[in-house]
Amino acid sequence: MNKNTRNTLIFRFVITLLVILSINFFLPRMMPGDPFSTTSSDVQGEDIVTMTEEQHQYFISYYGMDLPLHEQFIRYLANMAKGDFGQSIYYKIPVTSVILIHLPWTILIVFCATALSTVAGILIGTISARNRKKISDRFMMTGLIAFSEIPSFLLGIILLLIFCVWLRIFPLAGAVTPFAHYNSVLDEAGDIAHHAFLPVLTLSLAQLTGVYLLTRNTLITVSSKDYIRTAYAKGLGEKIVWTRHALRNALLPVVTRTGFMIGLMMGGAVLVETVFSYPGIGLTLRSAVVNRDYALIQGILLIIAVSILLCNLIVDQVYQRLDPRVAD
């Protein structure tokens, strides 16, 4: 990758970030209603405790909402740069702390799911490519493709119904058993894994087919290359040719895909977390939208967007290291 392309990449990164920042800032402000109409009434919308005009004004100026929009925007950008996302209006603690409480859960399931689907996808893809043109490959492909078309949250509901409602093997909600006392760290890890299992499975099943198809197709393309024939001609065994020569080259696009996948999963996690009531950032985003918690929505969107953009940037760098052909 020469300097020019790298500059374009970074330039695009900055522009996209700016677009997200502006959407992030202006959109919630255009939403109907204001946050204090929710805080001043109870959840059901009945028994409204009305604030006096004075209290209302106080809150508006307390949160800096009486300033002109552009001043708010500049203040917002400055605060973002400092890592200060403002106060959550609903939770009444800094947005950063709300995010920090919930983000680890999302990261946990997204990373486990990425690892699981990548490893499983490469494995099945290789098996499938080696058995190409056999009936087993055809079945595998049709099955997995049909599977991948089911959106992750529908898959989540299906898994939830089977494993939590019908078989009762896994818990219905949450990330840990409430009020549990653990005798050891191992116990606690077990409990967390028990709760995270289905969300992780759902997310990785939804991504599995992408990795599988990519591995299979690039393997098939690679296997007709000259250097594979050379490898066979040198007298190398089947196993070595497949792992050292074919798979190593076929894995390059999979690396790109993995970075891309993390981004997709962050989006998908919002729905999957809702299905399993998993207390990650997605579930928080949903409740923030319901409660019109501007600052929290902004913060979460920004975190999701930046992590997706960063993943793409990192993938480009890693790819460059792995494949010297791209270097210049």
């Binding site: 695009r12 522009i15 996209t16 677009v19 997200i20 959407i23 959109l27 919630p28 255009m30 939403m31 109907p32 049709t142 493709i145 049909a146 078309e149 089911i150 959106p151 949250f153 529908l154 509901i157 299906i158 939830l160 119904l161 939590c164 409602v165 219905l172 197709n217 098939i220 393309t221 981004g263 962050m266 989006g267 998908g268 919002v270 729905l271 809702t274 299905v275 985003l285 949903r286 939208v289 319901v290 929505i297 979460i300 969107l301 999701i304 967007a305 997706i308 953009l309 793409n312």
Partner: protein, 307 residues
């Protein structure tokens, strides 16, 4: 769909039959190139289309009126039982099919055709218009669509038109980009240059040479967007951001899953499963068809044979 089925009708009048035979030869040709999965997909879609079209005939009760007791199990009177308000679930499924298809198809048509036209024009005209469009497309494609979808539809308020608009906003980029690259590739062909030299107007060249080449690919993309839009609408509805006045399958899922402790009662069996099955059928059918169409319409994929 009608054309594809017409191949099986016995017709005896010569002119009509000649016409139909040519049509059915073509469609039959395409149909015979469909794989088994593709045919299953066609059947699935046909079934859902039927249900959507004949919803008033198929359902005994209006979907939005209380027609029975709360949470009746399936049985006489109510084919699939009732929901917590006593509304018939089978009618909701029938009318929900309309909702999902209308949303999916309108998003796909607007985004596919609009994006396609923009892409073709950008590719054909080049220059600043092209640059502007491509930069916009780049940014749109880099944005995390689903989180933004959630926020935008939350702010625009729940109505079908808004849901459609938001989904169009996020799905026109792909057809635009592909139509542009196709146009660029076609534009370089010598026959286009020849046509220009013979005095072909841009309109003539676009409609006669470029559009017919781009259209099949756009068609496949439109199928894909339909599926995307239906899923996205379901997702939004599932989060409670759908139009509460019109029950789509996603809204049914939302109401069922937000019913407190539904998983501890038998209600999910007839309240949650029907929309789930309907959605899965629809989405898988669309996927099978678009996969096959891709291979039928795109000779490069066929020749490659890798897939």
């Amino acid at each position: 769909m009608g054309l594809m089925l017409s191949g099986y009708l016995p017709i005896d009048r010569p002119a009509v039959s000649r016409f139909l035979r040519s049509v059915s030869d073509r469609t039959g040709n395409i149909l015979s190139r469909f794989s088994t999965e593709g045919r299953i997909g066609l059947c699935g879609i046909a079934l859902i289309l039927m249900v959507a079209l004949f919803a008033p005939v198929l359902s005994a009760y209006p979907p939005d009126q209380i027609s029975g007791n709360s949470l009746e199990p399936p049985g006489q009177g109510h084919l699939l039982g009732t929901d917590e308000l006593g509304m018939d679930i089978w009618s909701q499924i029938c009318y929900g099919a309309r909702m999902s298809l209308v949303i999916g198809l309108s998003v796909a048509l607007i985004a596919g055709i609009g994006g396609g036209i923009l892409g073709i024009l950008a590719g054909y005209l080049g220059g600043n218009a092209d640059q502007l469009l491509m930069r916009t497309v780049d940014i749109l494609m880099a944005l995390p669509s689903f989180p933004l979808l959630i926020v935008i539809s939350a702010f625009m308020g729940p109505s079908i038109v808004n849901v459609i608009l938001v989904l169009v906003l996020f799905s026109w980029a792909k057809p635009a980009r592909i139509a542009r690259s196709q146009t660029l590739a076609i534009k370089r062909n010598t026959y286009i240059i020849a046509a220009k030299n013979f005095g072909g107007t841009p309109y003539y060249i676009l409609s006669r040479h470029i559009l017919p080449e781009v259209l099949p690919i756009l068609f496949v993309l439109i199928l894909g967007i339909t599926s995307y839009a239906i899923i996205a609408e379901t997702g939004l509805a599932f989060l409670g951001l759908g139009d509460p006045t019109s029950k789509s399958w996603g809204m049914m899922l939302y109401y069922a899953t937000s019913f407190k402790s539904i998983y501890f009662t038998p209600f999910w069996q007839w309240w949650l499963i029907p929309p789930l099955v309907a959605l899965v059928t629809l989405v898988i059918s669309l996927a099978f068809i678009s996969r096959d169409l891709e291979q039928v319409l795109d000779p490069r994929l066929r020749r490659g044979g890798g897939l």
